[in-house]
């Protein structure tokens, strides 16, 4: 059955490039983000002759991958990238690692010199499979025409199956030019790669029993819930409401549970809320769904949630017991596991300890009472804008206008403020570079989102330093009339670097100030977009409203307080209960705030 009669090359067959496109169409590909070059010209020829697949011409290959990530994360589909050999492939590497760290399904097609030249240091040759091996979930070098179609189909399967990730297919030019047979996607399971999707029933039963016995439970969710699709978010909501247990989320998981819900404690981790981190520290039972005990979440490992019994649901067994030992591992798709817990919940006769849970909520409400995200905005005319206030107004106004809104970010303080002050109520609306922390991610990611959702409001909440890392994509945005909004929290500094220098390096602001920044209003103009600026608090709302109302690419340059820091903060290597609160709470930004910050902590990133 799997034997295909056309599985050998014959002269009358179409060129490899045509076969490639046919396979992409069978995989449901609608858009490719790419950049041409000598090695991939045959593919560009094939693209020229058809209309089914749209090609978006980026201005840098790194941006092609981030755009595909934005596309993938906002749609649940696989994002597709096409780049040439040598520098095209090496430029894509940052994007690939970003997608690997954040588990985003990508198929990246790279050109390669013809097979007979491989290994000869030919022009624009790079050992792409060698370079991308640790940068991808899997990669292929297609050396025989008869493998081409099969490899393409397999790459899509591998990219989305199990824990998703980027897959690279290196395509020598002779394979693209020569005749190749077509093989449809296999209907039989993959030979060796078959991730476990369904949870083990006995593990689920143990998990339910432990959850029901909890006196101080917490549900800690991550990007795995988003990756498991909207059904997983629906199941999570049902579980949290059924149990009445508090729920917190990692940066990558925001939106899976609605931010405005009283059972939600906000984000946890280094810049997470006081209540979320304390609940994690003091809980007696922790249910981790699709998160990976990242160091940004755990703080100092030996002080992480010392008294809790832990359940960990993850589709990737290597994430379980990697950093934090857990008592009940469940290897499964997050959505399926939550559904199984819901089903088992009703059949298990035990009751939860209501009085204990009520007492636990009283404790949590006391922590909440600290109001850790409080800040003061001076509302007098001409007053400087607080970055937190800018994000909060952006959120309020988009909500008031009831626009379907997607937010991307760059990396730095603005990213954390976006996570803290923009309330996400639905999955797949929030795209940020979590694992790799790639400055320059947000603009191309927004581009990919806007391509997938032409009528939605797509905003990149940016820093003035990060935005310059892929600013060339303004040109792509204007070419395709993609009305992405760039909302720069312009503090003139690499704010997050400046904050660490202030906190940990004696306020020696070494190279964290960018002199000679561009005039972002003129810059927008030169890229055929619209530039707006808010210099003081009284100008903010008008700028936000105008930005949203324009059906154009807009850069809104929001001049914010240069000295503002991002709180709460758990310095690297400190335990959760040594969180530093901001000046609003009377804590001065002194290193003594984190008592046990050691030299070892200082060495951490």
């Amino acid at each position: 059955m799997s034997q295909n009669p056309a599985a050998t090359p014959a002269p009358d067959q179409p060129a490899g490039a045509e076969i490639l496109l046919r396979a992409l169409k069978e995989q449901g590909v609608e858009v490719i983000f790419g950049y041409p070059g000598g090695a991939v010209l045959p593919i560009y020829d094939a693209i020229f002759n058809q209309n089914a697949i749209r090609h978006i011409l980026v201005r840098h290959e790194q941006a092609a991958v981030h755009a595909a990530e934005g596309y993938a994360r906002s749609t649940g589909k696989v994002g597709v990238v096409l780049v040439t050999s040598g520098p095209g492939a090496t430029n894509a590497v940052t994007g690939l690692v970003d997608a690997l760290m954040d588990s985003i399904p990508i198929v990246c097609l790279t050109g390669q010199v013809p097979t007979h030249l491989i290994g000869n240091d030919a022009f624009q040759e790079a050992d792409t499979t060698g370079i991308t091996r640790p940068a991808s979930k899997h990669n292929y070098l297609v050396k025989r025409s008869e493998d081409l179609a099969r490899v393409v189909h397999e790459a899509f399967y591998v990219a989305r199956a199990g824990r998703p990730g980027p897959v690279v297919i290196d395509l020598p030019k002779d394979i693209l030019i020569g005749p190749a047979p077509y093989t449809p996607a296999a209907t039989t399971p993959h030979r060796s790669y078959r991730p476990q999707i369904e949870p083990d029933a006995s593990q689920i039963a143990k998990a339910v029993a432990l959850l029901k016995s909890a006196k101080r439970p917490v549900i800690y969710t991550g990007g795995g819930v988003i990756n498991a699709g909207p059904a997983a978010s629906t199941a999570l909501r049902a579980l949290v409401r059924k149990t009445g247990f508090p729920c917190t989320s990692t940066l990558m998981g925001l939106g899976a549970y609605p931010a405005g819900d009283p059972l939600f404690l906000g984000m946890l981790g280094m810049h997470g809320t006081y209540e979320a981190n304390w609940a994690m520290h003091d809980c007696d039972v922790m249910l981790n769904i699709g998160a990976r005990f990242d160091d940004r979440v755990t703080g100092r490992l030996n002080a992480f949630s010392p008294g809790s019994r832990k359940i960990h649901i993850d589709i990737d067994s290597s994430s379980i017991n990697k950093n934090v030992p857990v008592e009940i591992p469940v290897v499964a798709d997050a959505g399926r596991a939550i559904e199984a817990i819901l089903a088992a919940w009703d059949t298990d006769p035990a009751e939860i300890d209501r009085p204990a849970i009520t007492a636990w909520w009283r404790q949590i409400d006391a922590w909440r009472g600290i109001d850790c995200l409080r800040f003061t905005q001076d509302m007098t005319k001409g007053a400087i804008i607080k970055p937190q206030y800018a994000v909060q107004r952006l959120y309020d106004i988009t909500r008031e206008l009831q626009k379907k809104t997607f937010i991307t970010t760059e990396v730095g303080q603005h990213q954390m403020w976006a996570a803290q002050y923009f309330g996400f109520d639905a999955p797949n609306r929030w795209m940020t570079s979590g694992g790799l922390g790639t400055m320059g991610y947000g603009l191309p990611a927004a581009m990919g989102v806007q391509v997938a959702h032409p009528d939605a409001l797509v905003i990149d909440i940016a820093g003035e330093a990060s935005i310059l890392m892929n600013i060339q994509e303004m040109s792509t945005l204007s070419q395709y009339r993609l009305p992405v909004k760039v909302f720069i929290l312009n503090n003139q500094y690499m704010g997050m670097v400046r904050q660490w220098q202030e906190l940990l390096h004696g306020a020696r602001y070494s190279e964290s100030y960018t002199a000679a920044l561009p005039d972002f209003v003129k810059l927008a103009d030169s890229f055929h977009g619209v530039g707006l600026r808010a210099k003081s608090v009284d100008e903010l709302d008008d700028v936000i409203r105008e930005m949203i109302s324009l059906d154009r690419t807009v850069i809104a340059d929001i001049c914010v307080d240069e000295k503002e820091n991002c709180f709460p903060m758990i310095p690297s290597g400190a335990p959760h209960n040594e969180m530093i609160l901001g000046p609003e709470h009377g804590t001065s930004l002194q290193i003594g705030g984190a008592k046990s910050l050691t030299d070892e902590g200082l060495a951490l990133v």
Binding site: T129, R133, K137, H138, L141, S192, S317, S318, N321
Partner: protein
């Protein structure tokens, strides 16, 4: 009182698709994540099914060895991963080729020891010979140590191949 986590040695066997890149991926996994490789062997074991087997001798805490297994298991071309040292009784063997350059009393003594260790002579000249020896890593180590004082010139070892005892298969 802080306890240092117990380190143990493990023999991990991996059944893989015999494809370009798989060995590089396995080795890259070990170097990239800082795991130890004490020895590594790889060879096709079922050409019809296109299967190869990789045997890795490594060491680490139980948690690290579990990690190694899970990390290997999620590679696309990996069929099965087994920790033979945990799974039950197993046999592990290594082959060594040992070149001796010596004469006179040393030569006689080396040959006498070889007989006791069941090493066979597979090449000989008047000044040299090559022993072939199969056994556990410890037995090979012991023999090679004895040879050091008797004119040991060169050693070539395969690394460990291992398999479970009884009816159990990978």
């Amino acid at each position: 009182m802080p306890t240092t986590p117990h380190q143990r040695s493990a023999i991990i066997s991996v059944l893989v698709e015999n494809e370009a890149g798989i060995l590089a991926r396995v080795i890259g996994l070990f170097t990239g994540r800082g795991y130890n490789i004490d020895s590594l062997t790889v060879a096709p074991v079922d050409p019809a099914a296109n299967h190869s087997r990789i045997n890795i001798v490594t060491s680490g805490t139980d948690m690290v060895i579990e990690q190694i297994k899970s990390q290997l298991d999620r590679l696309v071309q990996v069929y099965r991963v087994a920790d033979l040292s945990m799974q039950g009784p197993h046999v592990a063997r290594e082959l060594a080729l040992i070149k001796m350059v010596c004469k006179g009393a040393d030569r006689v003594e080396a040959l006498r020891l070889a007989e006791a260790f069941r090493a066979s002579v597979i090449d000989a000249t008047l000044e040299s010979f090559v022993f072939e020896m199969t056994g556990s890593t410890g037995k090979l180590d012991a023999f090679i140590d004895l040879m050091r004082g008797l004119g040991l010139a060169e050693v070539s070892r395969t690394g460990v191949a291992a398999i479970a005892r009884g009816t159990t298969t990978i």
